[in-house]
Amino acid sequence: MRGSTLLSFALLQAGLGGALATGVGPVAGAGAARTDAPQVLEDRYPRAAASYLVQIDGRLVWGREIDARRPPASLVKLLTALVALEDGLDPGRVVRVSERAARQTAAKLAFRPGEGMTAGQLLDAALIASANDAAEALGEDRAGPQAFVDRMNARARRLGLTRTHFSNPTGLDARGQVSTARDLLALAQEALVHPEIAARVALPGATLTTSSGRRIHVASTNTLLGRVPGVRGIKTGTTARAGECLIAIAERDGHRVLVVLLGAKDRWWTGAALVEAAFREAGVARVDSAGEGTAAAAPGAPSGDELGGGAPPPP
């Protein structure tokens, strides 16, 4: 199983082995996120994003418009992966990419129709590089396009994501595709319970191989990885309607911080600032040295992360 081998190797490179040993990785289920609603949160950082929230050690502390429905962009892929895995995805099985999947817009691996890749590597591509063609192929493989979306929405309902509806497995802008910062936090927490997801979203990159032997190196779209100490993933998303989106998890000294940004002006500076602020709030001093994953500065790192500037961002 080539995908697994690559994953294990990259896991070591990312320092995740140590992270898992210290209890980082899968987090408590999503239930906890729902029990603290409704509440008025302090909007300490009004310029952070159109909608944002910060959770420290399971407690929501700051937020803005956390129940406002907004396009979730590629954050949707967390549910795509979750449903595929819970549906019994065999990571070693080769999945043929349909013409429909291959037609997906960027970000993508640019599959040729009929080209194959193991399901495990498609999961890598969807979660690490946010590849739309990979996410679509996974959905088609499990149930067909619409049936898979139905399963996603059913799973969202079971998770208690009451203000969420998904229209495709990719997160590309589509009618009726909405979620909220609070719902996406719950989704992230549930996704991180699965080691297959927790491990992948922490990777700085991976090298994938199609059935035709084409090797593709993908870099994580998460610029915080390896640059902000303690960050372990989890997912980025960007579309014209959604703007810059990010869910980030970070752990230091036994404290866990989760940040959700929807429609951020600059998710990297903002995400890093909120992570640091949250740890300070938790009584954890700033870390002077990353000390982990410093090699994770992925080649081809996403653009659009200027402080006070902005080029088109990645998905």
């Binding site: 890093a272 640091e276 009584g283 001093a285 402080l307």
Partner: protein, 298 residues
């Protein structure tokens, strides 16, 4: 019994001769000797056991003094050393008013002799004997060992800050210099001298020490407030000066941790318009992150 106590050092580690000119790393071929001293005092019924030591003496070295160890040499002055054939006599005068005479007979491989000394009317006799063991040795080793011991003692003395011989004072001086508050503040404080507190407070209001207090409190100012209050000042006053100093020295780490709002110009220089991923220097990135946080609040 002062006489006894004083003389007791004499038989130990006998050099059998004064050390030749000492060259630190040079080995001097020597013969190993077994030297024995048996002390006795008139009126003492019980005999003291003989003391024996293995010592090294430079090969073929002529007898130019009595067999005494270095300590005895330092404390006693030998005079009237006379050699006639294989027999030698001498006089000895030591610190504390002890004095006496000695004589010995020697061959190339052995010697025997006596020393009679007295102090404050009390006499003591030492029977001396020695013989070669047949083993070779380094005649400089004893001198080297002694020099090492002296150096260690000197180093230990130098280790104490301020040249103090009192370990507690030394520890307080050291804690003061590093701004270590635990020795000065709280119920367990052990350093109470005004000059030590003054030194501590001087170190406590440096950027390094202040940053340490902030980290100690997990990024909060609680500890720094306690320290500044202890030193009779306020955190606002101290921080104002330190931030100005950090600004002047472009100490981005201090600015990021303690006064990001003071670094507007530096933020323009280092952060404005820059991509998050384009700043490899952690110090600069942390400063810019802190500055970004400030911007998000507006």
């Amino acid at each position: 019994m002062r006489v006894h106590r004083y003389l007791a050092v004499m038989p130990l580690a006998l050099c059998l001769a004064p050390a030749p000119a000492f060259c630190a790393d040079e080995k001097v071929p020597g013969d190993e000797w077994e030297a024995t001293v048996r002390m006795s005092m008139p009126g003492m019924a019980m005999q003291m056991p003989p003391q024996t030591a293995k010592v090294c003496r430079e090969k073929n070295r002529a007898w130019d003094g009595p067999p005494m160890d270095k300590q005895t040499e330092d404390r006693c002055k030998v005079s009237g050393w006379q050699v006639s054939g294989n027999h030698a006599t001498w006089k000895v005068t030591c610190e504390g008013g002890m004095s006496g005479t000695g004589d010995m007979t020697f061959t190339p491989d052995s010697y025997t002799g006596t020393m009679n000394v007295s102090m404050e009317g009390r006499a003591m006799k030492m029977d001396l004997s020695g013989k070669k063991t047949g083993k070779d040795c380094d005649a400089m080793e004893n001198a080297r060992a002694m020099q090492r011991a002296q150096k260690q003692a000197a180093d230990a003395q130098e280790y104490l800050p301020g040249g103090s011989k009192d370990p507690m004072i030394a520890a307080c001086n050291e804690a003061a210099a590093s701004g270590n508050r635990s020795m000065f503040m709280g119920p367990g404080a052990q350093c109470k001298k005004p000059e030590q507190k003054e030194a501590f407070c001087k170190a406590a209001v440096t950027r390094k020490a202040f940053d340490g207090y902030i980290k100690e409190a997990g990024g909060q100012q609680t500890v720094a407030k306690e320290v500044t209050a202890f030193c009779g000042t306020s955190i606002d006053f101290v921080l104002k000066n330190l931030c100005a100093d950090a600004l002047a020295h472009e100490d981005l780490t201090f600015l990021a941790n303690n006064c990001p709002d003071k670094g507007k110009e530096l933020a323009q220089k280092y952060c404005a318009g820059r991509k998050f991923s384009s700043i490899p220097e952690e110090t600069v990135r942390n400063f810019c992150i802190a500055y970004a946080e400030k911007l998000l609040k507006k």
